[in-house]
Symmetry: C2
Amino acid sequence: MPALSNRGQAMPPSPIRKLVPFAEEAKRQGRHVYHINIGQPDIETPECMLEAFREHHLTVLPYGHSAGLWEYRDELVKYYARFDVEVSSRDIVVTTGGSEAIVFALMAVADPGDEVIIPEPFYTNYNGFAIQAGVKIRPVTCRIEDGFKLPAPEIIEAQITDRTRAIMVCSPNNPTGYVLSDEELDGLAVLARKHDLFLFADEVYREFVYDGVTARSVLTLPDLDDRAILLDSISKRYSACGARIGCIVTRNEEVIDACLRLGQARLCPPTLEQLAAARAVHTPPEYFVRVVGEYLARRDAVFEGLRSIPGALAHQPKGAFYTMVRLPVDDADDFCRWLLSEFHVNGETVMLAPANGFYATEGLGQDEVRLAFVLNVRAMRRSMEILKAGLTAYSMRD
Amino acid sequence: MPALSNRGQAMPPSPIRKLVPFAEEAKRQGRHVYHINIGQPDIETPECMLEAFREHHLTVLPYGHSAGLWEYRDELVKYYARFDVEVSSRDIVVTTGGSEAIVFALMAVADPGDEVIIPEPFYTNYNGFAIQAGVKIRPVTCRIEDGFKLPAPEIIEAQITDRTRAIMVCSPNNPTGYVLSDEELDGLAVLARKHDLFLFADEVYREFVYDGVTARSVLTLPDLDDRAILLDSISKRYSACGARIGCIVTRNEEVIDACLRLGQARLCPPTLEQLAAARAVHTPPEYFVRVVGEYLARRDAVFEGLRSIPGALAHQPKGAFYTMVRLPVDDADDFCRWLLSEFHVNGETVMLAPANGFYATEGLGQDEVRLAFVLNVRAMRRSMEILKAGLTAYSMRD
């Protein structure tokens, strides 16, 4: 049998999804599994978006422009203006999900062997994208004890080598919920200018901020037009993960041109989904007021639960809908598998994402998990009760 | 300004799409452009597929399984059985278009610097996928004079090196319309076994065959389970290019596993489109009888037109809906641009795809174009008249 490539072997299984077979087995045994492992919200997609599919008048489902339908890009221009991001439709390449936006951006600016600096813990699939692109991730560690704020600029700067092509951040952050401050963003901009780097920002959670915090876009930073690259997705914004619509936004014309050429090879993002996404831009503001309120209530329910768990450490996040939790276990991976395969409370158990896959530094995150606030308050509360009971039972197993 | 990567610079603009700005300009000037440059058929998508969008009952548009929805994969199993391809749903990874199927397959089996042998001319975007994957394409040239049949096995074998990982074919072929014979497929299988290679087959045009020919799937070849990888898409089958649904099918479990891990990084293909694609599997057979008849009539109209053009050389294809044509011009690229920017017949002109982008060997295809039978018989006939008049006018310009 011919062998896989090194790359094919190196691609990591998703730490968020690798326990799926254990969850499926638990369900086969009649158990209910609370899925707070994955960022798949139960929040309803805006009706105006769902309607767009029902009301389509296409007789042929055709290719669109490789950079995205103009009518959708024009709507995106209006959308970004609401966040003080002034761009034109020519500054946008629509992608198949935020995933493709990241892969295209990496490929456009980095060659195999080049490096990108990313604060860890980070969205675990960055690992997979980096392996696909042959790019090395150099992590800078953010600590749960510090609420996951960025380390000082000197510490980030110390990771810059002659192969570094970009710094990539995610704010509001998946998996930590941390929202970068203006000072942190300014500091990153200084480093990007000083060392001739790109600054990538994954901002897919911008709507989901709490406690009066706002998430500033990298495209509002002064004197950074050639370096700032916004990576975006509608998956979380409109609870439309299955639409697979994202985009790259930058005022750097060369990067746009390279991403367009990458886009031409794969022809186009899904057509109907773009038409629906264009409608979704007109989602009434009350939708977000309601959804943000709901996520906030869930966060608070989770933290109420966590505070009652001895030995659990977590920092209440100001954004997104995740939190990292340090648990009193040696091997969170084993604990998460055990929860699915050997534990239940009255036929119910909980699925968490082990956090080691969110760190690039070997050995970090072994005792941490990521929780997603993707179920209703009652279910989140119940999940924390199950987690608490699970930890007790796990510590007493032989 | 920080520079693009070498890869970002090397990505070729689509030779099929790079003339789009000239076409847009022609339209701005009020001209009608016959788009026979791109494989975007005007054929109607099956009503059962379009209906699936109109009738959806989702309230949340969620992620699906990274390897594709089980309900769609189960339908695909039935679909393939109609072509004597016996596979299970675990042998299938659903992808975002055939494009992603090719990228995943390349990445799974080849590392940067590895090589894949591909008969040329080939679907031009293979170039872009190879650059993304860092893989080198070693072409074996098929000649228009031979009707684009494969060269002898010895000639293909001579291209095999210690970096060769796969041979990749497309049958029925884009851009030539050639359908591989059983003897040719058997010869490729012998080479794959002898040199421990994978055999990739892009078979997205299997329904579109004429003159009594059938297109045999690589998955029907004996003793090739570990090596045969089918790359597929519904874009042409159901005239649903904008759906972006493809798949990888192979009985090699390791390859499936690697493609699943590549798939987990990008989460999933579009969800609603998969539900619609599952319905499309039940498209009534009469649909294909009608569509194949229509393509056949178009092919015949094109060749009637081509036969009246002095100096044009083409081989009437038995499959797909393209043909390569050698034209009496030195630089087909320039001619195609000129047709859009400086020529029209009563306000009408034609857009063709220059063929040099379909060859990997420098210098080949300079005097060839690809035509796609994607417009109705009247429009194809008119396009050939415009092409004929254009060639005359082009030869007389100063």
